[in-house]
């Protein structure tokens, strides 16, 4: 409620209250006086009426005296003369005397004359019967008596109220004896009473106290009067008041109530006076109040309103630079100046805050209770690309992806409920151009006077770059870890004291200790291989120079292995340390050995190839010469015979000559020359296999045909035929007819088969089993895992462990010197490898020793 309205109300109510008070006081003080006055007035009226009634009675009594103390009447009662009747007892007499009835009784109580009168018709009528009841001897007549003074009074009857008077009839001098009683009755009807009232200017009423049909006010008055009060005054409303008193009837009994009813001029006067007083007061009050209000309005209220308006305008504009002007030197003007001072101080603070906010890299904001931005510092534009005005009216969630909004809303709602602060809340908003921006939000609830949160105030820091860098860092770290872990090498890093700082997955796998187990422990304790090299590692650390130990033999459970150990000093960031890298180079070392051997054999092969021609020619001479020598010595053929004969030996017993040759061992020596020559030729031939000049042409062929051809060759082979007696051995061929074509170079595979069969035959020939033993060479083919498998098995005694481990070494042989070149299996291995196949020694399902050769199948095989 405005001050103006309040003033109006207070003034108005004050005036009204004063008026009421005045009225009440006036009423209180004046009413009592007026009341008393009215009471007295009424009582006086009552007295007057009573007096009037008494006067009426006495007037009738006086009239009665005129008639009763009259000689004519005296006479009439005695003689009942007609003259009297005619001259006096006429209607005019009734009318003139306002009589309702007139009775003449003689001294004996007999009624001489008795007539009633109807004032309306102005005719003499029979007397009213109700009146007649009271005319018996015991009543009025006796009361009047013969010599008594007579009586007068009121008489209520069944026919109404009458004013009666009874007097003894005497002479005009008033001398007796009384000859009778004259009774006059006047009807006290409404009219007569009214007439009486007019005479008294009073409204009169007479009521029989005992009647049941009394008006209520009269009945009430009767009750009050019965208590012994002489007179009772009762107000009958605003306009009437009445006084009551008992009136005795003609017999002296208080059987009647006289009511005097008057209007209330005094009361009205009093009311009028009070009303006027209040009115005067009201008018005065309103005029005075208005004046006061006008003054207030002019001096205070209007200026106060202006002050309020100005402050409101400033508040609305949120303008601290505006000032309030209010002239004068009173307190209000002082207040305006104080407000201006306050504004200046606030502006200083505001400016300070704005300077801080705008110089901050962070964005300062405020929201209302629903989280809607109500203020944003200008920095938001450089962070999100939205101007502060665009931010205001929207919520933080309007700038987020839906799922992010859901996540962040929770924290905001808690803060808005005052349950928590927003502390380092990382959240992703989207800038105007759709770029995700990571913000670090901090905020506190803004509380109203009751401590209820009505909003939030906080700061958002743009940490996108930091997040990106962190992410990049994390990725890089993971990437580097992955890189290190996915290396097949054991990578172990140590610090300056040789304690483990890094241990990659391969290290866990190879060394068999988990990373968590070894970190921080001295390397020598957890890595036995490095234990012996700690001096080298520490040396490397000191000198900051890499060190390397190559092909360090290490015994692994599955045999001999080699490792390379490399030590690189770590010098980055000045933190001393080293990375120890251990690579299992067993395969490489073995490969290198193989390569060296292959190279060696290749150079032997190249040498053999270069020399083959030069060796083969003399071998040719030796072998063919030996053949010729034998032919000529044995004198075979016609030409030898001719030469024999031409030499003069005709007749020489050829048979004896041949015996000589046999006995002297010449033929054996020749055979020795031939065999040695052949062996040399074979060695050259085998060595040639390793020369790179040998090319092979691999094409699809039927492996079974190749094997069969090789077996035919075997039958003609010198070693097999002669030395090992192949014919005595049982040859079993178990061919898989569904094998299909095999990719091979037939002559080379033939040589492999021949070599294997020769080995088997040799094993069986060396065998010294008892009778009943049947040597078996079993050749089996089968298709297995997409490859063709050829198995050459024998039921010989098997191989020793030493033999088995050296089977494929060049020049390794179990045959006696002069019987094997030691190149058979080595050559076979080379051939099979050139076919991209494998060759293995083992035992077959029958427990026989076997060599298994696997060769690729042709692609077009079914």
């Amino acid at each position: 409620m405005s001050l103006r309205a309040k003033t109006l109300w207070i003034t108005g109510l004050a005036i009204l209250g004063l008026a009421l008070l005045t009225y009440t006081a006036a009423h209180w003080f004046m009413s009592a006086g007026f009341h008393q006055l009215e009471q007295d007035f009424t009582r006086r009226n009552l007295a007057r009426a009573s007096a009037a009634l008494t006067h009426e009675i006495s007037s009738l009594f006086v009239i009665n005296k005129d008639w009763s103390n009259w000689d004519d009447s005296y006479r009439f009662v005695q003689d009942r003369n007609e003259d009297y009747l005619e001259s006096n007892l006429v209607p005019e007499t009734f009318l003139g005397l306002s009589l309702a009835a007139l009775f003449f009784f003689d001294a004996d109580g007999r009624m001489v004359y008795g007539q009633g009168f109807d004032s309306e018709t102005e005719e003499v009528t029979p007397p009213p019967p109700g009146l007649m009841e009271h005319l018996g001897p015991s009543r009025l007549l006796s009361a009047a008596g013969n010599d008594g003074p007579g009586m007068a009074g009121l008489l209520p009857t069944a026919d109404g109220l009458f004013l009666v008077s009874a007097r003894p009839i005497l002479t005009s001098q008033g001398k007796g004896p009384a000859r009778g009683v004259l009774i006059m009755a006047r009807a006290l009807s409404g009219e007569s009473i009214q007439a009486q009232s007019e005479r008294t200017v009073l409204s009169l009423g007479l009521y029989e106290a005992g009647r049941p049909d009394l008006p209520p006010d009269v009945a009430g008055a009767v009750r009050d009067l019965s208590g012994g009060v002489k007179a009772v005054v009762r107000e009958l409303g605003e306009d009437a008041i009445a006084g009551y008193t008992f009136v005795n009837d003609v017999y002296g009994r208080p059987g009647l109530v006289l009511r005097v009813r008057t209007s209330r001029p005094i009361h009205r006067q009093a009311q009028d006076t009070i009303l006027k007083l209040v009115l005067v007061f009201l008018v005065t009050g309103v005029l005075g109040g208005g004046g006061v209000l006008l003054l207030l309005e002019k001096v205070i209220l209007s200026r106060l309103a202006r002050l309020t308006r100005d402050v409101e305008a400033l508040t609305r504009r949120v303008d601290l630079s505006g000032r309030i002007s209010l002239e004068g030197s009173d307190e209000l003007a002082g207040l305006a100046r104080k407000i201006n001072d306050l504004l200046s101080a606030l502006m200083l603070h505001e400016q300070r805050f704005r300077d801080v906010a705008s110089s901050m890299a962070d964005w300062v904001w405020e929201t209302d209770a629903r989280g809607v931005y109500t203020f944003c510092s200008g920095k938001v534009e450089s962070i999100l690309g939205y101007a502060p005005e665009e931010m205001v009216g929207r919520t933080p969630f309007d700038f987020m992806a839906p799922e992010e909004a859901v996540r962040v809303r929770d924290s905001f709602d808690q803060a808005l409920a005052g349950a928590a602060l927003i502390q380092d809340l990382e959240n992703w908003k989207l800038s105007r151009d759709g770029r995700p921006v990571c913000l670090l939000s901090n905020g506190v609830p803004i509380l109203d006077e009751t401590g209820r949160p009505v909003g939030l105030r906080g700061v958002d820091k743009d940490i996108t770059l930091r997040k990106l860098i962190e992410e990049e860092l994390r990725r890089t770290r993971n990437y580097l870890n992955d890189l290190v872990d996915s290396m097949p090498s054991v990578l172990v890093a140590v610090d300056g004291e040789g304690r483990v700082t890094h241990w990659n997955v391969q290290a866990e796998k190879i060394i068999g200790r988990s990373r968590s187990e070894v970190l921080g422990r001295p390397l020598a304790e957890v890595f036995p291989l490095a234990a012996g090299r700690m001096d080298l590692i520490m040396d490397c650390l000191r000198k900051s120079e890499p060190a390397k130990v190559e092909k360090l033999p290490t015994a692994l459970p599955d045999g001999k292995a080699y490792s390379d150990i490399m030590i690189y000093p770590l010098v980055a960031d000045g933190a001393a340390g080293a990375v120890v890298r251990v690579d299992d180079v067993t395969a490489r070392v073995r490969m290198e050995e193989l390569v060296v051997q292959t190279e060696k054999m290749a150079s032997v092969g190249a040498l053999a190839a270069g020399m083959a021609h030069e060796i083969n020619n003399p071998l040719s001479g030796i072998l063919q010469g030996a053949q010729m020598v034998q032919r000529r010595l044995e004198v075979k053929g016609p030409r030898a015979k001719n030469l024999f004969d031409e030499s003069g030996l005709t007749g020489l017993d050829l048979e004896k000559w041949r015996q000589y040759l046999e006995r002297s061992g010449v033929l054996k020596f020749l055979a020795g020359i031939e065999e040695s020559g052949l062996r040399a030729a074979r060695i050259v031939k085998d060595l040639l296999e390793f020369s790179r000049e040998r090319t092979i042409s691999i094409e699809p062929h039927d492996l079974h045909e190749v094997i069969d051809r090789a077996l035919n060759l075997a039958l003609t082979d010198y070693d097999l035929r002669g030395r090992y007696d192949l014919k005595k051995m049982r040859m079993i061929k178990e061919y898989d007819q569904g094998l299909g074509l095999v990719l091979c170079d037939p002559p080379q595979i033939q040589q492999v088969v021949l070599n294997l069969v020769k080995n088997a035959a040799q094993a069986l020939a060396d065998q010294t089993q008892g009778a009943g033993f049947e040597p078996v060479i079993r050749i089996t083919t089968r298709r297995k895992e997409g490859q063709a498998e050829m198995e050459v098995a024998d039921n010989g005694p098997g191989l020793t462990e030493e033999t088995r481990s050296r089977l494929f070494e060049p020049f390794f042989t179990t045959k006696p010197v002069g019987q094997g070149t030691g190149l058979g299996l080595y050559v076979s291995l080379g051939i099979v490898q050139k076919h991209h196949g494998t060759i293995e020694q083992g035992a077959n399902a029958l427990g026989e020793n076997c060599f298994v050769v696997r060769l690729p199948l042709a692609v077009k095989n079914p």
Binding site: A609, A612, H613, E614, I615, N616, N617, P618, L619, S620, G621, I622, L623, Q624, G625, Q627, M628, R631, K636, G637, P638, R639, A640, N642, E674, G677, L678, A681, K685, L688, E693, R694
Partner: protein
């Protein structure tokens, strides 16, 4: 009437090889002639017809293949066997086109010269006709020495 003996020309620069082959072939009833080089052999062929030539590849001067082609020009009917110490020998296309096949190639050292004899006889049969008994020819040849 006896047919002419089969004439075999041996071209080899190795004296003992030449000697052995010629002796063996003569023992087996062929008419064998030996030359130490391709050039010498060509001179010979210019004068005398031959049935089969057993040719070494690595020869001084003209090599075996060149000789074969030249010899074929001189005597288109002559057939060739190759007897070489060169392990990597493969028959050139021109040589193959005049009827030299892989089974005509013998690598030194050839310990059993009977293989050579069989090959000569087979070639002669091819050339002269299958119905002719080559062994009878060799028997008649003993008297026809150069």
């Amino acid at each position: 009437m006896s047919p002419a003996p089969i004439r075999v020309l041996v071209v080899d620069d190795d004296e003992f090889v030449r000697l052995n082959l010629a002796a063996y072939l003569e023992d087996e009833g062929f008419a064998a002639v030996a030359s130490t080089s391709g050039e010498e052999a060509l001179h010979l062929l210019a004068r005398e017809p031959m049935d089969v030539a057993v040719v070494d590849m690595r020869l001084p001067g003209l090599d075996g293949n060149a000789f074969i082609l030249e010899a074929h020009r001189l005597q288109p009917r002559i057939r060739f066997l190759i007897h070489t110490g060169s392990i990597g020998y493969t028959i050139p296309e021109e040589v193959r086109s005049i009827g030299v096949r892989p089974e005509h190639v013998f690598l030194k050292p050839l310990a059993d010269m009977s293989l050579l004899r069989a090959a000569v006889e087979a070639l002669v049969r091819e050339t002269r006709g299958l119905n002719q008994d080559v062994s009878t020819l060799t028997g008649a040849k003993e008297r026809g020495r150069p």
